[in-house]
Amino acid sequence: MAHLTVDGQSVRVRDGANLLEAVRASGAVVPTLCHHPALEPWGGCRLCVVDITREGWNGRRRMVVACLYPAEDGLTVETSTERVLATRRVVLDLLLARCPDTPLIQRLAREHGLTHTSYRTSAEPTDCILCGLCTRACDQIGVSAIASAGRGAGREVAPPFHEPPPACIGCLACAEVCPTGHIRYEASGDRRSIWGKTFEMVHCPQCGDGHITREQAAFERERHGVPDDDVAMCDACKRARAAAMFVSLGAADGLS
């Protein structure tokens, strides 16, 4: 266990935790845009900046991002010093210039006292904040169908060569994890479309719901060895099946 002080409050976190866990354990609110508990911390949005110091640093403070900095024993963390708030405000100000019409950014900016950007509004407003959640989720799943392309102001999330990505299995993880709704898809009955690629759905043998694409079903079978029956069946029916099994086991044991 590591003991830290966050905004004057003493907290304990597990070994190996990062500062964000310690900050959240203390109840302090630090905004994040690129953080997701299921993904490796990335440190791109820079909203979770905090000031840290410790004994022996002779009062020297260091500004770090909480999502990546290890929660070392004995650290004193301040989540809202003047310079932390100023830096966070500039970051939001910049994002507001990039994404002037994005409700999530508008809300966060408002919470930091910004109703309009101090900078030049983008000529091509976008909802994409380049948080990298979609590409990292895609990597994590093991598909890597999309990635960030270009650099600097030209950076964007895209499939290779801006063509329908051959590797995409249509799992929608990218769209699900996108915090601003920038990644769009269409789903209707037998078909699903994302990134310019259209998928046919596999139907649940139980309820007939088209819940998974053929490509994702194949991926689950081949990559993870999930048996055919389990791949085809939808989550709701799987749950029902498990519940029924549980009940019947209980009946056999005379527990019901």
Binding site: V90, V91, S118, S148, R151, G152
Partner: protein, 627 residues
């Protein structure tokens, strides 16, 4: 034949020196990238043919040697005739016959090809060592460049190569090598100045069976070429340093990351690695000591950010070259998650120099906190440009006046930009600043890659900042918000400033944004990106104010703010400006005062630069419109 003992090493080295002693006349033709571009390969060929024709054969002691970059690229192709040490500049193949006939065969000098010192009434200087550009230098990292044939390991051995490695392996324990580097006072030559010995010690002490040493050869700053010249001209200095470092920290694998825009560096390093392996100076059981170490080259794909150490390591790993947070040091978790020492090309070349010559020889140069020498690429508005290496603590004035030969066309000095795109501009009031890490930082600039761009009064400092912002905004990887979006917005503000659309609140907006980028960016690219902005604001704030409030560019180079006109009282109608004007905007008969037709004028300033009578002058566009 692999060398398997100290005695065998000494024998090979002695043989190499004996072989070199047979070179009673050596013609060294610079085949660095600059001279090659000026045709030096043909010059070398011509020498070979001409020596043959004169019967001056190798068995009689006559040799032509292709060397790496001598640094004085501006005067290339360079040829040095040894042992006399006569330097010929701008040599063409047609000059070769005369050189061979007079200098090689009869020890006479070809005066017309000698260097002429612009600082001293163009007096000719015969000897390499007496040319001011060279005389004021102290070379350690570049000790052998220009002297050795980079394609011949035996020539390198004859010049002392690998003697430092032999000393490390046979006379010193790894801890002794680290102690030697620590007492030399060597700090990282990539620009950050981290003490090299301390970095090595922490890697040595880190736990892990697999460790790496990495050489950063991704020199990407506009105008910087010191690492290029070292890799091209003396690859063994780098390999030897890397091997010594590997021995010290306990690594068995090394990587050299070279940008692919340096093809000759890749060729020469590859050849050097093969030759070192063949002699048992790389590979298993080096020099028979049981120490195994080998090196691989990774070519960089042309992203400036890959010069940042964590992005570089990701690139070697085959991932996108993007930085990661360095809260855990690379010496604990670096390449492939293993303890790693990453140093710059020049640092590695210094390491082999220190082990060869001893730490005291290195320490004897420099200042208390910045020991040794430092390579710089001296470019811009000075008479002599090129690659130089000097003791730390040399003043900027000495570099510009004595080595650089003073300002080009004797125009007034305005600033010197140091440290590459994320460095800063140092004004005339700080010209006596001794150049070391701390002093440059205190002046709002930095050591960085050792780039040094001298600027005269015709340089607009607002536009200089804009130029570097443009470069950085294109080279930011775009991973973190402050760097990506901040550079985009800073650039937009600067484009407005130079176009005459500046607003009263701009300076404050620039400062707020710069502070957030310094504090909030992920890597050093973003953290240091505001340096060109802040240093010009600090030293040349009046130029900013002039752009914003008076809509005037004091240097007269921001076209949107400047118009040119001809003073009829001074103009003698010589037509020089007419010839220089790209748009035929200048009218007037020969020998009668000229005038500029404003409708056709681009405000490029070509007429101003061409005029010998100071008859062309510039005024703020606004004043002209009012008049």
């Amino acid at each position: 034949m692999r060398i398997d003992s100290r005695a065998a090493f000494d024998a090979v080295r002695r043989a190499a020196m004996d072989e070199r002693a047979r070179h009673t006349k050596e013609i060294r033709v610079c085949c660095g990238t600059g001279c090659l571009a000026n045709g030096s390969a043909k010059v070398a060929e011509a020498f070979a043919t001409e020596l043959d024709a004169h019967g001056l054969r190798a068995d009689l002691g006559f040799f032509v040697k292709k060397t790496g970059c001598h640094g004085f690229c501006q005067r290339g192709p360079l040829v040095v005739i040894q042992p006399a040490g006569i330097l010929y500049t701008a040599v063409k193949p047609k000059d070769v016959a005369e050189i061979v006939e007079k200098t090689v065969a009869h020890d006479e000098t070809v005066v017309r090809l000698l260097y002429r010192d612009p600082a001293h009434a163009k007096a000719t200087i015969e000897h390499y060592d007496e040319v001011p550009f060279y005389r004021h230098q102290t070379r350690i990292a570049m000790r052998n460049i220009g002297h050795v044939d980079p394609a011949d390991i035996h020539d390198a051995l004859a010049h002392g190569a690998y003697a430092g490695l032999a000393r490390a392996l046979f006379d010193l324990q790894p801890s002794g090598v680290i102690a030697e580097i620590e007492s030399s006072g060597l700090r990282g030559r990539g620009g950050a100045g981290f003490p090299t010995g301390r970095k090595w010690r922490s890697c040595r002490e880190a736990t892990g069976d697999r460790k790496f040493v990495v050489c950063n050869g991704d020199e990407g700053d506009p105008g910087a070429f010191k690492d290029r010249s070292i890799m091209e001209g003396d690859p063994h200095a780098v390999l030897e340093g890397l091997t010594i470092g590997a021995y010290a920290v306990g690594a068995h694998e090394g990587h050299i990351y070279v940008r692919d825009e340096y093809p000759l560096a890749v060729v020469n390093l590859t050849l050097a690695i093969e030759q070192a392996r063949a002699l048992g100076l790389l590979g298993p059981d080096i020099l028979g000591t049981g120490f195994d170490f080998d090196v691989r080259i990774t070519r960089g794909g042309g992203a400036f950010v890959c010069g940042e150490s964590s992005a570089l390591m990701r690139s070697i790993e085959g991932k996108t070259g993007e930085p990661r947070a360095k809260y855990v040091h690379a010496t604990e978790r670096g390449l492939f998650g293993c303890p790693t020492v990453l140093n710059n090309v020049e640092t590695w070349a210094d390491v082999s120099g220190i082990l060869q010559q001893g730490c005291d020889a290195f320490r004897a140069n420099g200042t208390a906190a910045s020991r040794g020498t430092k390579a710089f690429s001296l470019v811009g508005k000075v008479k002599n440009t090129g690659l130089i290496e000097l003791a730390m603590g040399t003043t900027l004035r000495h570099i510009i006046d004595d080595i650089g030969g003073g300002m080009l066309d004797d125009r007034p000095f305005k600033a010197v930009q140091t440290g590459g795109p994320s460095g800063g501009c140092v004004p005339a009031s700080l010209l006596d600043l001794p150049v070391d890490y701390e002093q440059l930082t205190s002046a709002g600039s930095m050591m960085g890659s050792g780039g040094m761009i001298v600027m005269d009064d015709r340089t607009c400092m607002v536009d200089v900042a804009r130029y570097f912002l443009k470069f950085l905004s294109e080279e930011s990887c775009g991973k973190c918000t402050p760097c990506r979006e901040g550079l985009k917005q800073l650039l937009a503000i600067y484009e407005d400033l130079v176009a005459g659309r500046g607003q009263p609140g701009d300076i404050a907006r620039i400062e707020t944004l710069a502070a957030a980028m310094q504090l909030g960016s992920l890597c050093e690219l973003g953290r240091s990106a505001p340096n060109p902005v802040l240093s010009t604001l600090r030293h040349f704030r009046d130029e900013y104010e002039s752009h914003i409030t008076a809509r005037a560019c004091p240097a007269g180079t921001c076209r949107a703010l400047t118009t040119y006109e001809i003073d009829p009282a001074r103009c003698n109608g010589c037509h020089l400006c007419t010839a220089a004007c790209p748009t035929e905007a200048i009218v007037g008969e020969r020998k009668a005062p000229h005038a500029i037709e404003q409708a056709r004028c681009l405000s490029c300033g070509a007429c101003y630069d061409a005029c010998n009578l100071d008859a062309v002058r510039f005024v703020p566009r606004r004043e002209r419109t009012v008049a």
